[in-house]
């Protein structure tokens, strides 16, 4: 069956890969350059970056124009970035881009090499295309960073019980205390959080990212870097997000088991979905980023009662709106970002529970975004 992923009559869109790149590397002392005409940078800094007003991290748009694109004149970009690097002395530079560089086959790797050669600052080429979601961008950026700066040989220095939190950005966790709760959920259980990729940690901490026994992937954006680290350093992967006491327990059990046997795991059970976009009616529908949605749905199921089903956007295609609306209308309860409410406007039968998600609604509901990580969050209270 062909799904229409493209037409959205009522609903919003998740943020794009380019915002994911900038968000993931924001705190590491680098300079992100978004190769694009204009607009993507202000979209990111307005809607996707809650740290923008209070910090001076570096993110710029290249200002690509028609004639430069047609002529393939990369010198404009190279000259500007080299000069900016000399003025601002970033620790590294990240070069990503949107759809026009993609269709004119912009050579990220080659231009990165030339900039680095010219100014001596390491340059990470991250070939985004502006067509995919932030999940792709965060994953590509963290992977590129780890590949360049983190030493896989550090695995031999990993202390027992050490865990990395992988895939942490404000797009999924905001800046309202979730990250602290995430860390303490692990630390209170006796684990040592080696690195939180990439909020609240430094360039130096991230360099030692391989000093971990387990990578806990807390958002799907963390999958790509975790798989990279498994390939390079053999670190096993647990997927799951501690939301509420029951799901925190499930995550901690999965981490403990993986510490022992080194096998990859997920911290959720089966949901009984009948297809990627088909959800049984009458349950609790959790819409959001994949690992969040699976974890929260699992947390609801651990409580008993009406079954919960996760529903998450495809990294490349997004969400087919017709199937989304059908799933929402069939559910007894929908837990989702408030911007999804428009899809239910004419329906009275479904109860809607607001759960703001920065990667979807940006800054609009930031003030009401819950601190949902860790055992203190009440899943039962959420549904009441």
């Amino acid at each position: 069956m062909a799904f229409d992923y493209q037409t959205h009559v009522f609903t919003s869109t998740y943020t794009a890969d380019v915002s994911g790149v900038c968000s993931a590397l924001y705190e590491l002392g680098g300079m992100s350059v978004l190769h694009d005409p204009s607009g993507c940078n202000s979209t990111y800094s307005t809607h996707d970056e809650p740290r923008w007003f209070d910090t001076d991290s570096l993110m710029y748009v290249s200002g690509l124009d028609e004639i430069t694109a047609v002529m393939g004149d990369d010198d404009v970009l190279i000259r500007d970035v080299v000069q900016a690097a000399r003025d601002l002395a970033p620790r590294f530079i990240t070069l990503c881009g949107a759809s026009i560089p993609h269709i004119i086959a912009f050579d990220y790797r080659g231009v990165a090499y030339l900039i680095e050669k010219e100014c001596g600052v390491p340059v990470l080429p991250v070939a985004t295309d502006g067509l995919k979601s932030y999940v792709s961008g965060v994953g590509l950026a963290l992977t590129a960073w780890l590949d360049r700066f983190a030493d896989p040989g550090e695995t031999r220095n990993a202390r027992p019980g050490s865990v990395n939190l992988v895939g942490v950005t404000p797009l999924d966790f905001s800046v309202n205390g979730n990250v602290g709760k995430l860390r303490s959920a692990l630390e209170d259980a006796g684990y040592y959080v080696n690195c939180c990729m990439a909020m609240g940690d430094t360039f130096e901490t991230m360099e030692k990212a391989y000093r971990a026994k387990v990578n806990l992937v807390v958002s799907s954006a963390g999958r790509r870097p975790a798989r990279h680290m498994k390939k390079k350093g053999g670190i096993p992967i647990v997927e799951g997000l501690p939301i509420g006491p029951e799901q925190t327990g499930a995550v901690l059990r999965a981490v403990a088991d993986t510490m022992i046997d080194g096998k990859d795991r997920t911290a959720w059970g089966s949901f009984g979905n009948t297809g990627r976009w088909t959800v049984p009616a009458g349950g609790v529908l959790v819409i959001g980023e994949e690992i969040f949605a699976r974890s929260l749905a699992n947390a609801v199921n651990l409580l008993g009662g009406a079954p919960a089903y996760p529903f998450w956007p495809d990294e490349d295609e997004g969400v087919p709106e017709a199937e989304l609306i059908a799933a929402m209308r069939g559910a007894a309860v929908v837990v989702a970002d408030p911007l999804y409410r428009v899809a239910l406007k004419r329906d009275g039968g479904t109860r809607f529970v607001d759960f703001p998600h920065e990667a979807y609604s940006g800054r609009i509901y930031r003030a009401s975004l819950p601190v949902f990580c860790g055992p203190d969050f009440s899943v039962r209270g959420l549904l009441e």
């Binding site: 229409d4 992923y5 493209q6 037409t7 959205h8 009559v9 009522f10 919003s12 869109t13 794009a16 890969d17 380019v18 350059v33 694009d36 005409p37 204009s38 607009g39 993507c40 940078n41 202000s42 979209t43 800094s45 307005t46 809607h47 996707d48 007003f53 001076d56 570096l58 710029y60 748009v61 290249s62 200002g63 124009d65 028609e66 004639i67 694109a69 404009v76 970009l77 500007d80 970035v81 900016a84 003025d87 601002l88 949107a98 759809s99 026009i100 993609h102 269709i103 295309d129 502006g130 067509l131 979601s133 490349d316 295609e317 997004g318 428009v342 004419r346 609604s361 940006g362 609009i364």
Partner: protein, 433 residues
């Protein structure tokens, strides 16, 4: 310091809007989404990749206007298979079928990628017009890659007014074209025309689509902003409406000249020499009162607040104000003004608000500073600021007096700068804060 240069060292051709750019947290200026939603009973469709859609969708959501916008995402498949036209047509048809209320007009925005893939969207619009004759379709553009030759906002003002159909003209009716804000009591032109019984129409006061369409019957279009020039020229050619540009500056003689042209067009009496003298006296008094309050308080001006920041700086300096700086990225004012300011105050600081070095600027000012505009307020880190964008409906002597009044208010009462400057499209009804 790298973030500013004295005006005496700059060339008139200086342009910071070339190459690597920074985006400050200041968001007050309107974008194409805000402007598009001014058309009553219309629905906007944006057709672009995810990275471009994000900004327009959330701008609309912050306005609480999601029921006025739909999107069609451009994906990798469209690029590979070359089926952009089919995706656009299919998507638009689905949107029309599913919208609870049938729109009178649809503004369909294509993006940079459509230019590069030579998409024949005009053919799609032709098909749609035949299939849905009760809906007016208009092609709009969100294509910043074309900004050197066809910038998006002037293009949008033109396209919006292309919804107007040629027809019989009504005597004594005029349009104000290309304004985000209502030009009323603080606009000399509107006051003069209304006093003479001329009907003044403006998109941003139209409540229905039919009312908007009646703008086609006006005899003349008045513009206050450079961004409206394309629309006015197009309307002159297409609808046969005359065009009278009103210079939104601070030069008394230019104001008198433009007002005289407007009066002559309708054959109404303009201001008499005595009335002009009285207007000038009142305006000078307003400036003097403001100076008396501000005394030597430094003033910083930015281009988001007023169209002619250099002319305003010159006006204020000529009257004894201590103008400390101007934030401007491109000089769009007359060379004479630029050169006069160079002679008058060669040390005047010109900041590039888009320049990469301004990100690391030490924001603030030692002591009290009054900012005219949000960017000046942000970079100078002051709560004493005039919170306006795009001239805020001010023109002529009344406009200058209103600006002086706003400066006095700003000097006496602080505003929550951090909250206010981050609101997108100031005055458009955005609810975020």
């Amino acid at each position: 310091m790298l973030e500013f240069r004295p005006i005496g060292e700059l060339e008139y051709e200086y342009n910071a809007d070339l190459g690597l750019s920074y985006a400050s947290p200041v968001r007050g200026v309107w974008n194409i989404v805000h402007i598009g939603t001014l058309v009553p009973e219309a629905h906007e469709i944006f057709v672009c990749p995810t990275s471009c859609l994000r900004g327009v969708v959330l701008t609309t959501a912050e306005m609480g206007a999601m029921d006025r916008l739909s999107t069609i995402t451009v994906g990798e498949d469209n690029i590979l298979e070359g089926d952009m036209e089919e995706a656009l047509q299919r998507g638009t048809e689905r949107i029309i079928a599913e919208l609870p209320v049938r729109p009178r007009a649809m503004l369909i925005y294509t993006s940079c990628i459509h230019h590069f893939l030579a998409v024949n969207y005009q053919r799609v619009y032709r098909v749609l017009r035949e299939k849905y004759p009760d809906i007016d379709f208009i092609d709009c553009y969100m294509d910043p890659i074309m900004r050197r030759t066809a910038p998006a906002i002037p293009s949008l003002w033109r396209q919006i007014h292309r919804l107007l159909k040629p027809g019989r003209k009504v005597k004594n009716q005029a349009n104000l074209v290309g304004n985000c804000f209502r030009y009323g009591e603080y606009c000399d032109l509107t006051v003069m025309l209304r006093q003479a019984g001329i009907t003044v129409m403006d998109l941003n006061t139209c409540r229905t689509y039919d009312e908007f369409l009646r703008m086609a019957a006006s005899e003349v279009n008045f513009t206050f902003h450079n961004t409206a020039v394309r629309a006015a020229k197009d309307m002159k050619l297409r609808l046969g409406q005359e065009w009278l540009p009103m210079r939104p500056g601070y030069d008394y003689d230019a104001i008198d000249e433009d007002m005289r042209a407007a009066a002559d067009f309708f054959g109404i009496p303009g201001l008499s020499p005595e009335e002009i003298a009285e207007e000038r006296r009142l305006t000078e008094k307003a400036a003097a009162d403001t100076l008396a309050l501000l005394e030597d308080t430094p003033v910083s001006i930015d281009y988001t607040a007023v169209d002619r920041p250099l002319e305003l700086a010159l006006y204020l300096m000529d009257r004894g104000f201590n103008v400390e700086s101007v934030f401007v990225d491109v000089f769009t004012e007359a060379r004479e003004v630029f050169e006069a300011l160079q002679r008058r105050a060669p040390e005047l600081k010109i900041y590039q608000s888009l320049g990469w070095n301004i990100r690391r600027m030490e924001r603030g000012y030692p002591g009290k500073l009054l900012a005219v505009g949000q960017k000046s307020a942000y970079f100078k880190d002051t709560n004493f600021f005039v919170n306006i964008v795009e001239n805020d409906g001010m023109y002529g002597y009344r406009g200058i007096r209103r600006l002086m009044e706003l400066m006095r208010e700003a000097c006496e009462a602080e505003k929550p700068m951090r909250e206010l400057v981050q609101i997108k499209g100031w005055g458009c009804g955005c609810s975020f804060s």
